[in-house]
Amino acid sequence: MTYARKMLGAASGLALLVAAGAAQADVLFWSTQANPVEEQQAMRDQVLSGHDDAVDYQSNELGPWITRLEAELQADSGTIGLLGALHGNFSAMDPENLVDLGDMGVMSASDTFNDLAKLGTDSMQYMPWMQASYIMAANREALHYLPEGADIDALTYDQLIEWAANAHEAAGEPKFGFPAGPKGLKHRFFQGYLYPSYTNGVVRTFASDKAVTAWEKFRELWAHTNPGSTNFSFMQEQLLSGDAWIVFDHTSRLANAFNERPDDFVAFPAPAGPEGRGFMPVLAGVAIPRTAPDMEASKALIAHLMKPETQIATLKATSFFPVVDVDLPDDLPPSVKAAGDAVAKMSGSADANPGLLPAGLGDKGGDFNRVYVDTFERIVLAGQPIEAVLQDQKTRLEAIMNETGAPCWAPDAPSEGACPVE
């Protein structure tokens, strides 16, 4: 009996300790962003250490991130204080599960972002936190093979194809690199770059004649693309290894290349097609789940993250740019300078054709991406006829649009009700 009593004592002591620990717990910042170990550490040391309260920054893959969040929401009780994720992740959630942030008194400097963050409701459901984009980067070696008369800051797709062909010939192997691996962001290239540049649309023009041209052009480019691209997900690796000379990717997935060997690489805007220079932002936000243990602490953390100096610290830590107006200091890492210049040239170009992130798709965002990825795999990898594939995939896209009722977003012309696939 004494033994049992001892155990009981120990157990209750332990329970007390745990409870005390929970009472004064740090705010748990549960994020899908800044996932690489170095970035996590930089977030803790440089971004969150300046906050008054202690913050427990945890970054995860999307899967575990969602699983834990769903479990807390289902249990109606949680420990997560703040969520950090991409616009697409938040738009896949039920806005009811996020706390309204309209009365915070802070917001991003971009009305577009603030509107996106409302997720179709009247009030901001997440706070725009940081932004990035997709750009092109090249090894300086490849600059010798630029087609005559081409300006690297104002390339067209035809010039890019010619450039890739020249590099292919010179190197004896294809040197264009494309993130078509399992974790690669290829779908964003089709949605935000190829389609807008060739068809001035994403959904409406999915199966148009102009889209056929776009895919023909992409096939031409693919002929000069490193065939190992189906394994590439972070193009900085192939830039550094030399397996690819000219690449397209997310700015933060190119950052290591510029930081490790700043003199070897150049960043430049995405190419232009007949309908302009299509490009697309990446928007990350922070939100408070309705089960957060301490609302005030969570809101205080958001306010901290939106301060200009925190935004600059975040830029240095993650290569994601501020969403509020800040004066950028001079001591930025090379990757940030390179990417910042390229993005500025891209959005400032005369033929800029900026697109928006898909909105209103709810939890069908993944299915929407799959339509574009499948189209790519069938047309480019499997070599199926373009028209037939587009007609077939069109029915899937139509079903998604009708089911979600999502209206068109830029560069598609606005629609009444669900965006039609023409």
């Binding site: 999307l62 899967g63 969602i66 896949a92 004896g172 192997e173 078509a180 691996g181 399992p182 490193n226 065939p227 190992g228 189906t230 394994n231 290894s241 030399g242 397996d243 939890d363 993944g366 299915d367 991406n369 799959r370 499948d374 795999e377 069938r378 990898l381």
Partner: protein, 281 residues
């Protein structure tokens, strides 16, 4: 304690554990697979089966199992007989052979990726001894055969040891008298292997094959690391439904399809390698 009750008391913790952490989640998953927002339905199954990649991933998964498991069976039998014959250093060899067991399958995939990549070890070696002028890109969509062979190699390297361990234990249980008797009658080593080892090993073979075949249907990380998107398998599609498409119903349906295939394969193996009643070793 009552001797008749004791066995039940002893298996009680495991039973409770399995009910709580296996049976209960399994029931939830099954429920998820057969329901959508609108109530009980087979829509989830219809959706996953009608997707254009489903036949491809089913074929790939089965093909991989058919290609890998027989080789592993032969290899592990060979290795197990070798190990049992060894006088010295037996444990050492066994430890080394079972190292891959301690490595997660994703890590195993990455190890083999480091070998087969364009700038990987294999290419550096071939280049170093002058067989190729410059690194060749092996794992590409133009060479589905090489991708398949690379995945096969990685799987064989990674998962042969699990069969080996079971078979070594099984061989250890075969009484020496049988071999001595066979030798007296002049049976060749090959004949002894065919007539004594193999039949007596049947229960272990059963276990080893069942375990290995189920693992083969669940193959995922090695394929993802080496094949990227080039070699879709059932488990990869399940992952995509759950985490890319956030469609738990469809993912649950895929999981049940994999379960059904595993059960079918298990029944076939149990039937094929059944030990006749009253025949014991």
């Amino acid at each position: 304690m009552n001797a008749r009750l004791l066995p039940y008391v002893l298996i009680l913790p495991v039973t409770l554990f399995l009910c709580l952490f296996f049976l209960y989640p399994f029931v939830l998953v099954a429920k998820q697979a057969f329901t959508t927002g609108a109530g009980a339905t087979l829509d989830n199954f219809r959706e996953v089966v009608s997707y254009w990649k489903f036949p491809i991933s089913l074929r790939n998964t089965l093909l991989l199992a058919v290609a890998v498991v027989p080789i592993q069976l032969a290899l592990s039998l060979l290795m197990a007989t070798m190990v049992t014959r060894m006088e010295k250093g037996r444990d050492m060899v066994l430890y080394i052979w079972t190292i891959p067991l301690g490595i997660s399958d994703l890590a195993a995939g990455l190890i083999w990726l480091a070998i087969f990549e364009q700038s990987g070890f294999l290419n550096s070696m071939l280049h170093g001894v002058g067989i190729v002028d410059k690194p060749v890109n092996l794992l590409t969509f133009q060479n589905p055969g090489i991708v398949f062979v690379a995945i096969m190699l990685a799987e064989i390297w990674r998962a042969t040891a699990i069969m080996l361990v079971i078979l070594v234990a099984g061989i250890g249980l075969i009484p020496k008298e049988y071999y001595e008797a066979a030798e007296v009658f002049g049976a060749s080593p090959w004949k002894r292997f065919l007539r004594i080892t193999l039949p007596m090993l049947r229960p272990s073979l059963q276990t080893a094959l069942v375990l290995r075949v189920i693992m083969a249907f669940e193959v995922f990380a090695v394929v993802a690391a080496l094949g990227g998107t080039l070699f879709p398998v059932l488990m990869g599609e399940t992952y995509a439904y759950q985490f890319d498409l956030l469609n738990s119903g469809a993912a649950a349906a895929m999981a049940l399809i994999i379960l059904a295939i595993s059960i079918a394969a298990t029944l076939v193996i149990l039937r094929a390698l059944r030990v006749p009643k009253r025949a014991t070793i």
